[in-house]
């Protein structure tokens, strides 16, 4: 079966204050559809950079990235935007919900950029919010929701376009342990529903929830529990 994501000798270099920094050094990686992968590493290990590349938010300096068989490494900004809209769902540490906006409208947002008409948008958003258990909080604004509830809204938003993969960047970082556990449970459920989940975290305990752990250090993969 064709892998969902394939990285071939991918490097990412940044110029910071004139100095060239190598964030990722010739990484090669394959993730299959339906996997639950955790990417771990200390600060500066390159895991954020890797996540940005996997999420098509950035392009590699060298090497190739294939998403669903399509090469995305050299696509235009607009093409990448479309891919992000259709094939990737993001979950951030800081939730990143629009303030002063209802949960429903927050979840609808990716559908707006997919040109889905208004009635259908509402319908889909309600479905996804029901899936994460927030049907009774549709019109609440972020400041009226707890941290865990906000993250659940974010998860509903990530699911709205039926993406190929869900990218979660430290999803429990801003939550207490109880809420954190609920979120991880939710991610686990999503995985059981055949979603591909890529979790980025520095917490090794959290990473154990995933079926596969990839550890980064200084821009290189030092451990991959699926390595052949």
């Amino acid at each position: 079966m064709k892998p969902l994501v394939e990285l071939v000798k991918v490097s990412k270099k940044f110029k910071m204050d004139g100095v060239c920094v190598t964030a990722l050094n010739h990484i090669s990686l394959t993730i299959k559809r339906g996997e639950f992968v955790a990417i771990t590493g200390a600060s500066g290990s390159g895991k954020s950079t890797l996540m940005h590349l996997l999420g098509c938010l950035d392009r590699p300096t060298s090497g190739k990235i294939y998403l669903n068989g399509q090469e995305v490494s050299q696509l235009s900004q607009n093409q990448l935007a479309k891919i992000r809209n259709q094939e990737i769902g993001f979950i951030f540490q800081a939730f990143n919900l629009l303030p002063r906006t209802s949960a429903l409208k927050n979840v609808e947002m990716p559908l707006i950029y997919a040109n889905v008409p208004s009635k259908r948008r509402q319908q889909i958003a309600k479905e996804k919010l029901a899936m994460v258990g927030l049907l009774d909080r549709l019109y609440h604004q972020p400041n009226q929701l707890s941290g865990g509830q906000q993250q659940r809204v974010a998860i509903a938003r990530a699911l709205v376009n039926n993406p190929n993969m869900i990218l979660a960047d430290e999803p429990t970082g801003n939550l207490d342990s109880k809420a954190g556990r609920e979120i991880m449970k939710l991610l686990h459920q999503l995985h059981q529903h055949k979603h591909t989940i890529i979790l980025v975290t520095h917490d090794l305990n959290l990473a154990k929830v995933a079926k596969r752990q990839i550890q980064l250090k200084d821009g290189e993969i030092v451990k991959d529990t699926h390595a052949k």
Binding site: L57, N78, A81, R84, L98, Y113, A114, N115, R157
Partner: protein
């Protein structure tokens, strides 16, 4: 993203911050309101003066002493009429009338500021020494009584007509006919009261006047010459011919080029209209400057808004917004702000102009409303582009990290 979606998004964003949106709009509101108010004042003035002139009777040709510069219509070197050094006489007027041809009527006038007295009430007004045909040439009607006859003027009878303002001040509710008033030092009997006529300018108030036979005025105030000669051409087509006739006659009588000006009503009106038209546009232009300032305010706030919403922009891009989606969104917000401000400004401007209409002539021309609307959208577009562009160019990764 289709256009409705974009509009809805923008309105949502503006509603999220109601107070800030209103304050930002204020500049546009005031700017548009001023444009409408000032243009309506200018327009109203134009309409008023045109109406006043037109009510004076058509085909009128004035002969004024000195070089006034209004002869050919349009704007030449303007000079003031030289009333004290006037070389025009009553005889000229009588001759012109006898000439006939293109000239239908010719009358003359002298204007002297004077105090009118009845009993112990006094009024400062103008004594207008006029020929008997003055009233018909100027289209001045009587409310009661009668105008002068030729005999009144020839025999220097001490009779007078008074205007509405004088009547109100000196006689209040009683009937002035038959009563005697003091014009300066001399007594005149009132034989008529003119209808309300209004004024052409501060110096030309038809209602604040006492009309005397010109011959009496000449004697009483020691004036040999007249201040102006007023003629009526046979019809519109004869105006040019009449002007030529008048010029030829006066030159033959020994007057030089600089001693008189022959001005016809039509060119006078067109000059005035031109001047007032330019004035109206200038007023509007000045008010438009405040619109410019309003636009700068919009740009300022949009820039702040973009910075404030950096994370939001990053998020939108992360979930699939393209650069042009972001650009359109913010540009639309600026345009919507300006259109709303423009709408309110127009309402206030029209309303204010109705209010001012109780004291001043105002008329809101439809073109000014369209102009104001168009201008405010333009302002929104121009001043919204830079912030919108800045928003569109944000890198999603950087934007999401922004604190």
């Amino acid at each position: 993203m289709d256009i409705f979606e974009i509009f809805r998004l923008s309105i949502t964003a503006l509603k999220a911050n109601k107070i800030r949106s209103v304050l930002t709009m204020l500049g546009i509101i005031i700017g548009v309101m001023c444009v409408i108010l000032l243009i309506s004042l200018g327009s109203g003035l134009q309409g008023y003066i045109t109406k006043q002139f037109e009510s004076l009777g058509a085909n009128t040709i004035y002969v004024l002493p000195g070089k006034v510069g209004l002869e050919e219509g349009g704007f030449q070197q303007p000079g003031a009429p030289n009333f004290s050094g006037s070389k025009l006489t009553l005889g000229h007027s009588r001759d012109l009338k006898r000439l006939g041809g293109a000239i239908l009527e010719s009358g003359a006038g002298i204007e002297i500021p004077v105090t009118l007295k009845f009993g112990n009430v006094a009024k400062y007004a103008k004594a207008q020494g006029v020929t008997d045909n003055f009233f018909s040439i100027y289209n001045i009607k009587v409310e009661e009584g009668r105008v002068f006859t030729k005999a009144d003027v020839d025999l220097k009878r001490k009779v007078a007509l008074i205007g509405q303002t004088v009547k109100e001040k000196l006689f209040a509710n009683s009937d002035p006919l038959g009563k005697k008033i003091l014009v300066g030092e001399e007594r005149y009997e009132i034989i008529g009261v003119t209808e309300k006529k209004g004024s052409l300018s501060a110096n030309n108030d038809f209602d604040n006047a006492a009309y005397l036979p010109i011959t009496c005025t000449q004697d009483q105030f020691g004036r040999k010459n007249v201040m102006f000669i007023i003629n009526q051409a046979k019809d519109k087509e004869s105006i040019e011919e009449a002007k030529v006739q008048i010029k030829r006659y006066l030159s033959k009588k020994g007057l030089k080029e600089d001693d008189f000006s022959v001005v016809d009503q039509a060119s006078l009106l067109s000059t005035i209209n031109q001047i007032l038209g330019v004035l109206t546009l200038a007023l509007g232009g000045i008010a438009a400057i405040s619109l410019l300032v309003g636009g700068i305010g919009i740009m300022n706030i949009m820039l702040v808004s973009v910075t404030e919403r950096t994370k939001e922009i990053g998020l939108r891009k992360a979930v699939g917004a393209r650069a042009q989606d972001i650009l359109l969104q913010f540009l639309t917000e600026a345009v919507v702000l300006c259109l709303c401000g423009g709408g309110v400004g127009i309402l206030l401007g029209v309303g204010g102009s109705f209010l001012a209409g109780r004291w001043l002539p105002t008329a809101v021309p439809l073109w000014s409303v369209f102009l104001a609307f168009g201008f405010s959208s333009l302002v929104g577009l121009i001043f919204g582009v830079a912030p919108a562009y800045k928003a569109a160019r944000l890198d999603p990764i950087e934007a999401l990290r922004y604190e």
